[in-house]
Amino acid sequence: MSYLKIIKKGLYTSIQDAGRYGHALYGIPQSGAMDAYSARLANRLVKNPEEAALIECTFIPPTIEFFKNYIISLTGADMKWHIGDFAVPRFTSLYVRKGSILRGSSAASGVRAYIAIQGEIDVEPVLGSKSYYSGMAIGGYQGRLIAKGDQIKMKSKRSKWAFDYIADEERPNLMSEKLIPITRGPEWHFLNQESKTSFISGQWTISSQSDRMAATLLNHKPDLKVDLKMPSVPVFPGVIQTPPDGKPIVVLNDGQTTGGYPRAAIIPTNSLSIFNQIRPSESFRFFFVNS
């Protein structure tokens, strides 16, 4: 039997793949890895398809025992990973022996880390995806987060070991000053001039209440002033809504598919990977790009 066993569950550890697409009409979110870029790198390192399911860790990583020899990779947040007593690097392929234990400590940079294992995580896809979505308790490991004692089965062919690594310039830089690109949303003009200025020039932080559904943004300046009279409209990950309490909400992977707040701005899909690694203690700015 080929499986890994969860010794400690970590904070919010789940199975995610590239997402559950095609069901937004009935309100089912896309889900999938929050840092899609790091997830793709992790899969690439173990020669899995880029969209394959892997393990997403949040702040505090799980401890995992391997019951077979595996080829794995670690990307995303820096969890100070160890296999046994040895510190192991991120962004390279790793050969782990049967009986090895992978552990880490709370993220030193970034928020979300990815563990890819060569082969296929043997869980049932729901609506075409293995991504866990808490709202409907679907996908992932038996429709829930990964918990202590879980045995995650792997469907693997004979492992193909070939050392691989991600070059420095391809690795996401989680330490640098955060600048998040945005484009104007359809209701940008709902903000008054003062609010537009504070949106762009302000230092923002992400509320610690944020999760896979949405990130609430906080600004040291007075709250944004917005005109609220508008109908419900479609939204998607990256849309920044501005409710009347003046605290913008970024729709994320498990987020709603429609909303009644002005869509002031939009973070381009390929920039959400950087955004989703910002920690609540870090501040960032927005800047406009052309869509």
Partner: protein, 231 residues
Amino acid sequence: MKSIQLSDVNLLIDEIATGRHRIIVDEPVQNRVSAALIGQHISEHPYFQGTVSATSAEVLISKDISSEQLYAELKKIKFKPNRKSKNYNLPIYFENGSDWHDVEEKLGLSREAIINKLIQSQITVASFGFLPGFVYLEGLPDDIHCKRKTTPAKHVAAGSFGLGGPYAGIYHIASPGGWNIIGNCPIQLFDSNTFECPIKVNDRFIIKSIMAEEYETLKARPVTIEKYQKK
């Protein structure tokens, strides 16, 4: 924003992000061609299957195609805005609404008056979305349009029936939410296993105010909306 004429409907289209095209129906209000209905038609076209989300106000097509390609494909669709709509009874238990106090205050009406207005209204399915299985209902009289909460509640129970602006809505799953909750709908509008939905945009609902006994029975053994009609 560009414009496209389809049958007798004029659509305005613009790409609001890469691969995200929004469509607005540019039509006098009295014609009542909602974007949700247009969206439902588009979603049934194989080329657009799984790419559409929609509200009464807007359609969103999520597909990595150019605006030109989008126009070309949309032109192939025959719109039938006058699809036959079905009638359904919709049971609501109004005793456990957590926001009655705020709603009475916001609207300046008593609970009884608000319920009466709801059960006498011709409610129609406006659109879906927001959350899995969430249904937007329209047709409420103006005086019970109730502003959404300024800060969404952290927890809204599954089945909650609420008021949000011009709409009433039903939460299929428990979630955070900004609507004013005044009751609970104990039947299934949306199949939890297949995720299929028998009701369509423009179907009509008659709200039935149910008593505690019926509510408890239905809550314990939920039935589909189609089964409920046969009772």
